[in-house]
Subunit: 206 residues, 4 copies
């Protein structure tokens, strides 16, 4: 099974998730002044953070499947599982923004981030354990410090929300900023492997 | 006619169906406590079940069209017919969840599942009966026990809903679980056919 | 410019149009009985008709661009113009259904069908008049009886709506049924041209 | 990294943005007469203008990535940044239309247009500055008069909205009309470069 349709379907779902979130920003019906936009500010900030998170997942998903050519049924379902948790982001983002970053919504936001991160790790493992393995991805990930630390920070932020929700939300922002730095590991590993492949092709064509 | 755009259009429609269902989970405007989420639980469960069902259809659709290279006008319309019934899933899922799995919504959910299964069988037959046939798909499906039993179970669950809707919903969950096991038949048949093709190509290139 | 992204963007927009229409079918909040679904029947019928129409446009669009390899800026904008009119289908379909096929909504539905048909003809002309022409499409269309009659019927149905809206809606259904019969002209023309191309390739490779 | 998935994801997001805007045109529940449509006219005009703007961005995005084969992490994020600002178009379009082109919404509409234009310039610079450069795009853009003037006009229209919002909206329409003229520069540059490539291929194959 080629990865083409899995990527197309994931791109579609992620594109819809990232875009329908803006529907939570309801057009205000009151006077057309800046004052009526002020209550929308928390919703806007929660939209911005969630947009960045979905963007990060799309970016990493894109990089990961660059190293993959064929998918098994297990990988297909691990991917649907990831999309399920990400599909809940618009709901928890809306709840978080509507309630001006209150403790319970902040904790629930963390739960969805945590489950998405776990689902991503399961998908990554399914790709790595596929028959034939995936040495490019394996070497690109390396110790995968970012990937392993993120769910730990989310897990810590969930109970923290009930003590100080601003600290919890600060942790979500922090993890997003760490991931915003593009993952050059896979780009480097791919470049290396393409060089090797090109060499192989040259050898074959001789 | 190549299958490319049919797959792209179907991926788009299925991606939207699977994602707009979450819009039924309206962000609660009351106090930001876990208590206000409790009434959303049936809707969440109905969302989860429907997400799995749309995921199954995408997965099977993906597998089926892997065996197909060209489509006729009949196949295009059989596909649009399938998408029509699946497009009603968000509506019946919302009605089922809103009403906490009441008998009539449970029956209507079964009707949409039944019609989708029938539409899928019509599409499968259209592909099998296309000029030239489709031996890979034919051998992959075999007796197609799962495909033939599912609509029978849905048809039984519809009247059953009015006696015991939990049993009916239990049957929907059961069929979903049976399908969750990935359909290795097509993967095996494709692997076999690719081996044969590769052999053929080698023969030709000699 | 290749047609790839034009097709992908059009597939996306058409997939969204065809799917968001179902959001007009609001989940009823009253008792979970069949009786509360009855008022939704006109909306369901209007949804069904509009789903078929968008399906027809996608189908014909798909066939037309099968004959086209490169697009100019003019074709891109003619395509965006077509998508604009089709994007209004969910709105007029909702208005038609909500008002149980009242005269004014029936007329407005006809206006959107008419403008979409005109936009489709403009797009078709833009493709035919592109440098190099498009002999496959030209021969496939032939006299284009269906394409020329449809807008005339819509134009007649618009004033007719105010005398007998059922007759007008009947005309919309009739035209849809005529188009449902797949357009074998392009399939035949393509098959002919591919045979010719294959011959050409064989000649070249000798 | 190939541009394929970046284009697919952008096509998806732009297709959703351009289509969900029509959801702001709420189906009126009052009498089915033309009179109830009249208050929707400003919303319709704002929808039309925004549809054209998103169409222009898709068109230019399409042209720009025709000249690009590989993308870096920086280009991916510059693209997500552009999509973020464009995702706010449905919100500001709705606010502008709902309030019959009042000063503050007109100014906010200009802010989103300005930020989108700036984000587009950043993306263009990221592509031009990628390793190896992009001589086709560079020669196609030339002095980029349209690209440099547009943000200046938006920036001027924002404060102007508070004195005469019609003048500001007129400027938005004017810029849209200027961009509607398809960007033949890139088409010409591509045609030239393909001629050169074809020559190169011929040389190689000798």
């Amino acid at each position: 099974m080629h990865t083409g349709r899995l990527e197309a379907f994931s791109d579609g779902v992620l594109a819809i998730i990232i875009t329908i979130m803006v529907l939570e920003l309801k057009v205000p019906r009151e006077a057309p002044t800046l004052a009526v936009l002020k209550p929308l500010l928390p919703l806007f900030l929660s939209y911005l953070l969630s947009f960045v998170y979905v963007g990060i997942y799309w970016n990493n998903h894109h990089h990961m499947f660059q190293t993959t050519e064929r998918v098994s049924g297990g990988i297909l379902w691990a991917n649907v599982h990831l999309l399920f948790w990400l599909s809940l982001v618009p709901f928890v983002a809306g709840w978080l923004g509507e309630n001006h970053f209150a403790p319970t919504p902040a904790a629930l936001y963390g739960v969805v981030l945590l489950m998405s991160a776990v689902a991503y790790m399961i998908l990554q493992q399914a790709i790595l354990r596929a028959p034939g393995g995936n040495p490019v991805l394996a070497s690109a990930i390396g110790r995968d410090l970012k990937g392993k630390l993120s769910p730990i920070i989310y897990a810590a932020a969930i109970p923290l929300s009930f003590f100080n929700q601003w600290l919890a939300c600060g942790l979500y922002v922090l993890v997003a900023l760490v991931w915003l730095i593009p993952d050059r590991r896979i780009e480097r590993a791919l470049a290396g492997s393409e060089g090797a492949n090109a060499g192989g092709v040259q050898n074959e064509s001789r």
